[in-house]
């Protein structure tokens, strides 16, 4: 109750500039490699692939000089949800052609297959979370924006407003930590007026009403910030992507090619093995 640091153990979205080999890669290579891994983990049909992914991710974390303990702590907050999903999967997953359930009770049953499915689910989520945290430890929001801008640029030729999209991503990434700070401030300030968070008493309506002191100021602050930012951007001559140039021009090195090649091989392994 007295801990207001909402983001303390959420490490997705936390950039750690350690200056490792990985941090020095072209942001496009990092972004593409990260997405390849995420896609492969999502698609991996067997546990062997997921184990390869986990081992590869741990190695990648070590190479990126991220403290392993910190990275693994990021698995803790979503653990209850994952466990819950795994239990559902084990008890109520598709029966398929199961011949001998180990245990049944009403619609619930446990079989060797469902246990395996549950384990797969846990492994997959763990790998996904680690991959996402790895990506955010290694690539700053600025670099994401630069990489996206460069990667999506060809699409402007067919008339898609990619620059507006990238700017939106940028503003969102910039605002999230500010909003988190704002939420912390509002929660603290209402707490000093006697509000209690998370006592969980009362019906739905009453709980919704309890959230108002937090949500209204947060919402207003968000709108106010957005308005101020729009004003500041207009004042600095922003008129959309057209005719805009960039200070930093990205250049691909041989190390980037190697890294991309490695991630392609890894992704293939994860899906096929």
């Amino acid at each position: 109750m007295h801990d207001f640091e909402f983001l303390r153990f959420v490490n997705i979205g936390q950039y750690l500039p350690t200056g490792s080999v990985i941090h020095r890669l072209d942001p496009r290579a990092r972004l593409v490699a990260g997405f390849l891994l995420l896609a492969a983990i999502t698609a991996a049909p067997r546990w062997t692939g997921l184990v390869i992914a986990l081992v590869a991710l741990l190695a990648a974390l070590v190479i990126a000089r991220i403290p392993l303990g910190y990275a693994l702590k990021g698995l803790l907050p979503p653990l209850p949800f994952i466990a819950f999903l795994a239990v559902l999967q084990i008890l109520f997953g598709p029966r398929g052609d199961v011949v001998m359930p180990l245990w049944t009770w009403g619609p619930a049953f446990v079989s060797a297959t469902s246990l395996l499915n549950g384990a797969l689910l846990v492994l997959r989520f763990a790998a996904l979370i680690l991959a996402l945290s790895w990506l955010s430890f290694c690539i700053s929001t600025t670099e994401i924006v630069r990489a996206l801008d460069a990667l999506l640029a060809p699409l402007t030729k067919i008339g898609l407003p990619t620059h507006a999209f990238v700017l939106m991503v940028q503003a969102t990434l910039h605002f999230l930590p500010l909003l988190a700070q704002e939420a912390e401030r509002v929660a603290k300030s209402q707490a000093s007026r006697g509000a209690e968070w998370g006592t969980g008493r009362g019906g739905l309506l009453r709980r919704a009403r309890q959230a108002l002191p937090l949500l209204v100021p947060l919402f207003l602050a968000g709108l106010q910030r957005a308005e101020n930012l729009a004003l500041a951007m207009t004042a600095r001559g922003y008129q959309g992507g057209e005719g805009r140039t960039t200070m930093v021009e990205l250049r691909f090195q041989w190390t980037d090619v190697v890294a991309l090649g490695l991630s392609v091989v890894l992704a293939t392994l994860i899906v096929l093995v």
């Binding site: 109750m1 007295h2 940028q170 603290k188 300030s189 707490a191 000093s192 006697g194 922003y238 005719g243």
Partner: protein
């Protein structure tokens, strides 16, 4: 020759939600020449910010013409040119930052101009050098202090090579060092030939300008050099303004020493004029020793307090270390320190929002380092008013907003009404006049009072105030101070942090100075403000009275160093001047 910026009979009204419009500018005509330094001052609602946004086509007049370098702002095809001719630095540093890296943010404006990348790089580096932040170019802006963030915003404007820069209350949220740095930048840019337009609530900042324009309800009330504008205190007061602090002090001293000339606006001028009066060099009276209050145990006692944000992560950051603080019951205790020195963190320990990681915190009978302590009871006893508390208002009606806390305490019906009425009257808001007003339609100063009342309604015996006067216009500022003065007289214990040395001097008895999370100076206001040199090195400053004392002592006057109130200064001066100037 036409002026750089010309307003010809400009009228503008804001559309209201649900129809109707509220007039902000009324038939304003104004010429600003290339190379001028103009300060624009006025009460809240006088139209300053609206005027500012007309200067670079962020707003277009309803009626009349604004031309910038000969270009009519009504023509959208000229906006790109106008935006790069007149740059703007806004009030809130964090709201005008676009990118997540300092140099990328500085580049944003130039990138919009379609300049080749090599040239952008050169301009960005030059702008960062100018504002003295080149070393910080690869940092995320939110890691910088507010003052540095404002310099990032300024660099972003400079990189576009404008002819004029508008500062829209750009110093309002800064600590003394940050404010000093931005003011110095304004002056040096002006010397380099740029046109500077500064909108400000600080009268001493208006003195930096060559010309002061006073707005009142959308019209120009006064326009001239500072010496002609800051003359009539009564007139300024009806315009919702004040004399600059040094001028106010000079005026107060003239009532004791009529030989003092009129029109003294700055500390150096006042020191010069005092020194010019015939005076004795008398032996300074022995420093009065304060009667020691150590007999009774302090109400708040903090020992060796340490706190670390994000403890247990690689981003852990130490916020407090070895902090010691004693607050006597019924006293007003000031906390001074630059941005990021740990004042807010310390305050949050005093009502249990944060728990000590090291050391002890005792508030009354509650020991906060003991996990068994009931923090809710501590919060009932100690009210905390956050910085810009009006941002936390969530109810539609003033009465409901103030009733929120007492209602949670279980108050109902008549006793609730009584409590709300009592709190509103403490901040000078009539219960019947204000309880059914819409919170969103209040002025900035009124919102601040509602937020204050909503804490007072909990009947705390200790009130913590984090930058209570930040961002207020002079009239609201003065009024809030007088309410705090009254609270002090009711015997309430106040702990306030402020970047306004004048506020601290006016209210506080004891002061603790924080630097990088450590408490490094502690004593009566007089003792602490006597350490002018050290305070300035910490990014702080001293009130004008103390500045005058410093100036006179440097000229050989024998004055005791730690004077903070105008009355004490007058008394000390009378010892040196009497006989000559009666």
């Amino acid at each position: 020759m036409s002026a750089l910026i010309e307003f010809d009979n400009v009228t503008y009204a804001y559309p209201l939600p649900g129809g109707g419009r509220v007039a902000a500018l009324r038939e304003i005509s104004l010429r600003i020449e290339e190379g001028e330094y103009v300060a624009i001052v006025g009460a809240n609602g006088s139209g300053k910010s609206t005027l500012a946004q007309h200067l670079n086509a962020l707003l277009i007049p309803d009626d009349g013409v604004v031309s910038v370098a000969g270009l009519d702002t009504r023509d959208p095809s000229q906006h790109a040119t106008i935006h790069r001719t007149v740059g703007m630095v806004f009030q809130r540093p964090e709201d005008q930052i676009v990118a997540s890296l300092v140099e990328e943010d500085v580049a944003f404006g130039v990138e919009n101009m379609g300049v080749p990348s090599g040239e952008i790089r050169a301009r960005v580096d030059e702008a960062l050098e100018t504002v003295g932040l080149w070393e910080m170019r690869l940092r995320p802006p939110h890691q910088l202090s507010a003052g540095q963030q404002q310099r990032v915003a300024l660099a972003g404007v400079l990189a576009m090579r404008p002819r004029c820069i508008v500062f829209d209350e750009a110093t309002a949220m800064l600590d003394p060092a940050g404010r000093r740095a931005v003011r110095e930048m304004m002056t040096s840019l002006h010397r380099a030939g740029l046109t500077i337009i500064a909108i400000t609530h600080f009268m001493e900042e208006a003195l930096d300008a060559q010309r002061v324009v006073v707005l009142e309800r959308g019209s120009v009330a006064l326009d001239g050099p500072p010496e002609t504008v800051f003359v009539d205190a009564a007139l300024l007061s009806t315009l919702g303004l004040d004399l600059p602090p040094a001028a106010g002090l000079a005026r107060a001293l003239r009532q004791h020493f009529p030989a003092l000339p009129a029109g003294l606006l700055t500390v150096p001028a006042l020191v010069e004029a005092l020194d010019f009066l015939p005076h004795y060099i008398v032996e300074a009276p022995a420093a009065r020793t304060q009667p020691s209050t150590a007999a009774s145990a302090p109400l708040i006692e903090v020992r060796d307090l340490g706190h670390i944000y994000l403890l247990g992560t690689p981003l852990a950051q130490r916020a407090l270390e070895g902090v010691t603080l004693d607050v006597t019951e019924g006293a007003v205790h000031g906390l001074l320190g630059a941005t990021g020195s740990g004042k807010s963190t310390l305050m949050q320990h005093l009502n249990g929002l944060l728990r000590p990681h090291e050391g002890t915190v005792r508030v009354g009978e509650y020991v906060l380092d003991d996990p068994q302590t009931d923090v809710r009871a501590v919060r009932r006893m100690v009210g905390l008013v956050f910085q810009l508390p009006e941002a936390q208002i969530f109810e539609q009606y003033v009465g409901d907003e103030i009733a929120y806390g007492p209602r949670l305490q279980g108050l109902l019906g008549d006793s609730l009404r009584q409590r709300v009425r009592w709190a509103m009257e403490l901040v000078g808001m009539g219960f019947n006049a204000f309880k059914d007003r819409f919170t969103f339609a209040l002025s900035g100063g009124e919102k601040r009072k509602v937020a204050l009342a909503s804490i007072l309604a909990l009947r705390p015996s200790v009130l913590l105030l984090d930058e209570p006067t930040a961002g207020l216009d002079p009239a609201s500022h003065r009024e809030l101070l007088s309410h705090l003065q009254k609270l002090k007289e009711t015997g309430m214990t106040l702990v306030l942090s402020s970047h306004q040395m004048e506020d601290v001097a006016a209210l506080a008895g004891q002061v603790t100075v924080l630097d990088s999370g450590r408490s490094i100076l502690d004593g009566s206001v007089g003792e602490v403000f006597a350490q002018g040199e050290q305070l300035r090195a910490l990014g702080l400053s001293v009130p004008v009275v103390t500045q005058v004392v410093e100036g006179l002592r440097a000229r050989g006057w024998t004055l005791p160093p730690g004077l903070v109130s105008p009355a004490a200064l007058a008394e000390a001066l009378s010892r040196c001047l009497n006989g000559f100037n009666r």
